[in-house]
């Protein structure tokens, strides 16, 4: 069980200083699905990016904590003092290592890097970083003198890493099969020339392979046709049901919530959570829009 906890989070644009988050409080635990809704510009995507450590934003106040269980990661016993992390103290890759995944609204395209090479490198890097973070004090002493050829252009790491090429190929084939993805995906360049739908499916595939404790999915449903929406939704449900991940699903629309049923729905307005509720809240938003939330929020204020 892991728990992501946002406490009174304030953030602004690093260059320019425009304030975007104005005290966000939110908690997501493993096995739960939370929907974060709200009109454009309310701070949803910024929340996601701040959780993952995007350099474009500066946190001015508050905390982003991850609480882990002793047996959070397979084959590893986490000592008491290393079960809580403030993500704001960590680099983006370290945040991945403590179990946080960000699914991008607009994934970048990187030519020349095959999916299989990229994902295996990422998985091994995550596992290695995890060892460094959670091992007691010894990690830094063991700094290698020269690790030699880390990457070969053909097959990724010559250094096998924790997950070997063949093991990884099997894992990737299995996950792609679950998501009904074409096997040729593995050899394509990362997102290069992917359709909008393929990119979103790819984000879910990456989450499935990297097995996060908490996955923040930023408008993973935008620009999808109904078939692809169902595929992606199936993948998200599997993340929770089979891997026990906690999901923070950022979305504009009720549509995806027909397939990925949230336990909790939060509405964000002007950089903070204005109201929270169950799945019925999303249905009301679908019917009535956001105005009533705004009115209620200002009444109570």
């Amino acid at each position: 069980m892991a728990r992501l906890q946002l406490k009174n989070l304030h953030a602004k644009v690093a260059e320019g200083g425009e304030k975007i988050l104005d005290g966000v409080d939110l908690e997501v635990s493993s096995g739960e699905i939370h929907a974060l809704m709200g009109p454009n510009g309310s701070g949803k995507s910024t929340t996601a990016k701040v959780i993952a450590g995007h350099p474009a934003y500066e946190v001015t106040e508050g905390e982003v904590l991850v609480h882990l269980d002793e047996d959070e990661f397979e084959g590893m016993t986490i000592p008491e003092e290393k079960r809580t992390w403030n993500l704001l103290d960590l680099e983006p890759n370290e945040r991945a290592a403590v179990g946080v995944f960000l699914g991008f609204q607009y994934p970048v395209e990187i030519e020349g890097v095959t999916m299989v090479n990229f994902l295996r490198t990422a998985l091994n890097a995550k596992l290695e970083e995890r060892d460094d973070l959670f091992e007691e004090g010894e990690a830094e002493v063991e700094e290698e003198e020269d690790s030699g050829y880390d990457t070969s252009p053909m097959e990724g790491n010559v250094d096998e890493g924790e997950v070997s090429v063949s093991e990884f190929q099997e894992l990737m084939a299995e996950k792609m099969d679950q998501l009904d993805m074409d096997t040729t995906f593995a050899q394509r360049y990362l997102n290069a020339g992917f359709s909008g739908g393929e990119k979103k499916q790819n984000e879910v595939l990456q989450a499935a392979i990297l097995e996060p404790s908490i996955a923040v999915l930023d408008e993973i449903d935008s620009g999808l046709d109904i078939d692809r929406l169902q595929d992606v939704s199936k993948g998200i449900n599997a993340l929770r049901d089979e891997q026990g991940a906690g999901i923070l699903q950022i979305t504009h629309y009720q549509r995806i919530l027909d397939y990925v049923e949230p336990d909790h729905v939060h509405v964000m307005l002007d950089g903070k959570i204005a109201t929270s509720g169950g799945p019925e809240l999303a249905e009301r938003l679908e019917d009535e829009g956001y105005d009533w939330v705004r009115e209620e929020a200002y009444e109570t204020a």
Partner: protein
């Protein structure tokens, strides 16, 4: 994973570039004595025929008569290049002139140097042949007998002058790269030494790469190897050259010459990965002449050097001839890599593609300088030029200077250039998946140069990637 990759992995690349031997040469010319007397001494030491000496002397005259190139827009600063400071010729202490054909006969210090570079390992692993040049002479070469039986010649250039005078006399710096081409071609013509000679008879396909490795080991020397490749009608060969030089305080000059003759329906690929020390001026002339339906392919990675000026060039002489260029340049602090390609479409239905990629970092400067000339009458020819520049920071620069001279209207011309900074968004994306900042950048660069690495045999691809990793870590001084 093959054993040669293991070997490469185990070799500490940084040490490899610092590694150098005390000079133990049998003969060297006096520094700065670039006059007729010096040329005569070199030629005599090589026991050359009269006609070669005459060519050298003619080239020397041309060299002295020509001005230094100083007026090209944005060209590298060559004011430090003082020919008088260069030791033009050093012959290492090897008993057998023209090299030995058994590795074990080499002096230990030379063997050690090549061991450090991993060359014998690569050679052992099923490559058809390696010619290794140490200082000015080729010291080692070997080629599988099965090619020799088919009449393929692969030897060092000095030996070719002795053994195959007719072929050399006809092709050496005559119609392809005459000394009058440019000042450094003239210099090269005067004091050239060593290099490779490759001859592939009609209809023969050499299906393994022929390889040579050049190394400058002594301080303040110049290296002027000449490579002459003749591929007769319908033949096919892939020649690969690697170059490196260790670090020294004073400057080195590398001024090589490459001439390739691609016969009708023949196919030649010339690949090179060069990594010079940061005080080397790398000023070369490379050209191919391509007959009807022949194909010439240049694949080159230019790393290191203080300044490089190199524009591999192809003359598409026969109908239906094809030329492909793939180049990559990497410039770090204090470096200016000025490189590109030249193609002359002199016949109908000729085709060329140029793909140029450059990376600059820490104030480094890369420049694509290209020329595509389509002559009147070269109808239905096509050319496509693509230049991509990747920059790490705001201090680095990259310029693209594509010249197009189109004299024929029935042609298809395309040019595309992109310039980009390594994107924060790209790096963040990879970081969010678990890669640290350095690994993320390396992965982006590895992807960027992938079109080059996929054209190279694995050892060279690994070497190129590793060199770029080292450059990016800033561990090469």
């Amino acid at each position: 994973m093959s054993s040669d990759q293991d070997h490469l992995r185990e070799t500490d690349s940084e040490k490899r570039f610092e590694f150098k031997k005390d000079e133990a040469s049998a003969f060297r010319t006096e520094k700065g004595a670039l006059d007729e007397e010096t040329i005569r001494v070199i030629s005599e030491d090589k026991d050359e025929p009269e006609w070669m000496l005459e060519r050298r002397l003619r080239a020397l005259k041309q060299f002295h008569a020509m001005p230094m190139p100083t007026d090209w827009p944005g060209q590298p600063d060559l004011s430090e290049v003082d020919i008088a400071e260069i030791v033009p010729y050093i012959r290492p202490d090897v008993d057998v002139r023209g090299g030995v054909d058994d590795w074990s006969e080499l002096p230990d210090d030379i063997k050690d140097t090549f061991d450090q570079l991993g060359i014998p390992e690569a050679e052992k692993n099923a490559l058809s042949g390696v010619g290794a040049q140490y200082e000015s002479e080729v010291v080692y070469q070997n080629m599988q007998e099965r090619w020799e039986e088919k009449g393929v010649i692969f030897c060092n250039m000095d030996e070719a002058v002795q053994e195959y005078p007719e072929l050399v006399k006809e092709h050496f710096m005559t119609e392809n790269v005459p000394p009058s081409d440019n000042k450094f071609a003239a210099l090269h013509g005067a004091i050239w030494s060593g290099g490779s000679f490759v001859y592939v008879p009609e209809g023969v396909t050499v299906d393994m790469p022929v390889q040579a490795y050049f190394r400058m080991n002594s301080e303040g020397m110049g290296q002027f190897e000449h490579t002459l490749i003749i591929a007769e009608e319908g033949s096919e060969v892939h020649y690969i050259e690697g170059c490196s030089a260790p670090q020294y305080a004073s400057f080195n000059l590398h001024s090589g010459g490459v001439e390739v003759f691609v016969g009708e329906d023949a196919h030649v690929q010339y690949s090179t990965v060069q990594n010079w020390s940061k005080n080397t001026y790398n000023l070369n002339t490379k050209r191919a002449i391509c007959e009807a339906n022949g194909t010439m392919e240049w694949v080159s990675g230019s790393m290191g050097s203080k300044a490089t000026m190199l524009y591999p060039s192809t003359i598409l002489k026969g109908r239906g001839a094809t030329d492909n260029h793939i180049t990559i340049a990497f410039a770090g602090e204090g470096q200016n890599i000025d490189t590109g390609a030249k193609v002359y479409h002199n016949a109908p239905r000729t085709k060329s593609t140029i793909e140029s990629k450059s990376i600059s970092k820490d104030g480094g400067r890369t420049n694509y300088r290209g020329l595509v000339h389509i002559s009147d009458g070269a109808e239905h020819s096509s050319t496509s030029v693509e230049c991509d520049a990747l920059m790490f920071d705001n201090e680095s620069t990259s310029d693209t200077m594509p010249y197009m001279e189109i004299e024929e209207s029935k042609v298809d011309v395309a040019h595309e250039a992109t310039v980009g900074k390594i994107g924060d968004e790209d790096v963040f994306y990879l970081q969010s998946r678990g890669l640290d900042d350095d690994d993320a950048k390396q992965m982006i660069v590895a992807g960027f140069i992938e079109p080059i690495t996929e054209e190279l045999p694995i050892e060279y691809a690994v070497e190129l990637n590793r060199l770029i990793e080292l450059e990016m870590e800033g561990s090469l001084g």
